[in-house]
Amino acid sequence: MNIVIVGAGDVGYTIAKNLSAEGYDIVVIEQNPELAKKVENELDVRVVTGNGSRPAVLEKAGITEPCSIEYLIACADRDEVNLMACWQAKQCGVKRVISRAKAVEYEENPHLSQALGIDGIITPERSVARDVMEMLWINAAVHTSELMEGKAGSYAFKVTRESAAAGKSLREIGAQYPDLPFVIVYIEHDGTGQIPSGDWVLEEGNLCYIITFKEYVLEIQRLFFQEQKRRKHMRRLMVVGGSKVGIQVIRLLGEYHPGVEIKLIDKDHERCAQIAADFPSLTVLHGDGTDEKLLKYEGIEITDGFLAATEDEELNMILAILAKNFGAGKCISFVQKEVYTKLMHQLPIDALVNPNESLASMILRLVRYPETAGSLSLIGRIGAEILEAELPEDSPAVGKTLAELDLPKGVLFAMVSRQGEILMPKGDLMLQKHDVVLIFAMDERMNKALKTLGILQ
């Protein structure tokens, strides 16, 4: 299958790398000659240097009539370029075109993109904002992502010393809390990680990736995390930087947790004025997020949550470290580059969130998996994916127990849902048709797993 990708920034690069490794033939269009060279050297793809909105450049990439390209994925930095590229590709007969959009309005008004023939327009801010809100609300989580339309999620908890789980093996915990439906799919420790066996003994500092249902999260949190008396619930939040994703978090919090008191600091006066007009209940402060006096005056040491959401990712990390240092509760920073999320353990920050990761996973799902598949969640830091999919009637797995299934190494079932009922993935569980399964897979092994299950041909 031939795919053209416009833009080789972080998102474009991630998508190109993943799809090329899976056997798709990729052409990448990139304007910046240095980036183009980098992609050409590092990936087995063809690179066309030029502006992806120009017909001559698209033609060089093979977008002409008649056209043998199945997908065009536009993830350049500018919406105009993306939309132009998509529109032209559709005119030339590219089967499906997918675009990233920075402006949230496009996702809100699907008729605009439909008029251009765009099959999917993706803005990650909203889903990222939801994850961040979750993380602010669930104290111990350093990573969250939604699964099964918000009913379930994957969470990463770090085990603390005095917690109930520390010093116990996974089997013991399972026996002790039989009513808690959760699966630990991965444990990170001392810079490495693996899929744990039942004999794994949890220790302080283990980072557990857990898949569970929303209503049990707070209960499960208690297992791994010894609660502090203060800050049981988030009451005060400070946000520095009124970027799009920051504003989305504020909007969502206002919707779901209206009791939270939010303060926003931004350098730009105009922007402050605009935000103040849009969110009357918000305390908008015009100032520098690194201004110690301002932070202290506004009570940084008693805020329960701190969100660094400026457009400058390096500054964000510094801001979050500063806030932590001044005594703020949970400090989260937005970054753009995948490599920074690898620093999470080294920095005194609670979480680093990369919106590009969500964007890449949303686009990849559209290309890779059948329409029946549900949400895909990508955990770039450990190179894992979680996909929700329904077992078709002719699946070879139907009628087999989990123990009988010959799944590739590094792949496991995280949860099975049958007609709304949740089943824990025990070895003797017999799979039935139309079961919705959550599959956790390491290192690009998802495809193989789906083929084994008959979900992908």
Binding site: N2, D25, E40, N41, L43, D44, R46, V47
Partner: protein
Amino acid sequence: MKYTVVLRVLGLLAIIISLTMIFPIIWSMIDGTDDLIPFLQSMTLGIGLGAVLILIGEKREEYAEMNVREAFAVVSLAWIIASVIGALPYFLGEYLPTYADSFFEAMSGFSTTGATVFTEIEGNPRGILFWRSLTHWIGGMGIIVLSLAILPFIGVGGMQLFKAEVPGPTPEKLTPRIQKTALMLWGVYVLISFAEVIVLLVFGMDLFDSLTHTFGTMATGGFSPRNESIASFASPAIEWVIIFFMLLAGTNFVLHLLAMKGKPSAYWKDEEFRFYIKFTGITVLLVTAVLTAHSHYQGFETTLRTSLFQVVSIMTTTGYTTTDFNLWPQALRFLMLLLMFAGGCAGSTGGSMKQVRLLLLIKRVRAEISRLLHPQQIRRVRFNGSVLNLDVITSVAAFYILYMGFFVLFSFIMISLGLDFESGIASVAATIGNIGPGLGDVGAVENYRFIAAPGKWLLSFSMLLGRLELFSVIMLFVKGTWRQ
């Protein structure tokens, strides 16, 4: 440098090269000649060497990615290993007296130079002669490009390898997958070669001659199983056919591919191709005029054909001859020496400097002159419609300087080894440019046998430098390449 990756790929290549000996073995078996045993021994040794390399490289570490360093090492070492193995049949069968001679002959074959150390070519078994020509054909499109085409797993590092082997300042990937690009290039190469074999058969060559001469032409090599090269056929028709196919071999294969896909206009749209044709035309006119003035040959057709043949042969770096141009007027002899620095187009099988580099240098010099007139002018060099990055021009200039540097240095060494002025210079120009015949003692009807062993090793090295366009080979001598 990740040695294990390098060793593994080299091992595979050694096995591939050894396996190609099956073809000369077929000829030996048909003829029942005594070269069968040396071929079987060489093949076994080659496969053994490959297996050992793979075994050493097979340590724990998963298939690691190939980076620039590994790519340079793999490409240069692959050509050396190919020649080491390729020399075995000559040496083990005692067709050549020393290993230095055998290595020279093998390197000359793979690098498509066509300089020979055989004093008497006819009379050798056909298996050996076929092997000589086959090495040309394999080397023409490239050992690495061949392996990229048939070893799918090289994938990611492939582009690095491709760039390190394929001639020209800016090698281009035609398809998303490097494997497919390599397959397409080899496909075009095989198709045109097939066409030439058919045409030569039609004009009266036997199968053996048409195959070996096709290998020599399409690879711009120059080995012929005949002592007198193409002249021995005394057939104007065959000469015209070979002129035509030498011109094709000297053209960028991407253009052939586009033409086969129904876009023959691609030829004329290409700036380098236009330059190449004009360059050839003007040179031929000049040579024909001088030869006519000296009444060197009888009749216009003969004069035109003879000058066209030698000019195209030297310029595309093939090295076939139909006349001894060493006997031409002095001015033309010098012109032939100059032509050795021209070369074919980028992406062709030809060697030497390449047309595109000459064209870009001319353009750049023009821009410099114009800037002297208008000191504040900003002028960019365009090629095929798009503006060229200054990086490309700089690396072309660096290539030129380095090429000339090696030429001067090696010429000095060759003359120190006892060659006369003219032969010394020509021997280096003819080997670094992958042409074959030079002037004087290494002229069209002579051979390289008389040169002392150190001279042969140096010229072998010079052929390798020329085929891989200097930089890939030089990287072997840079300390940073070997750092762990």
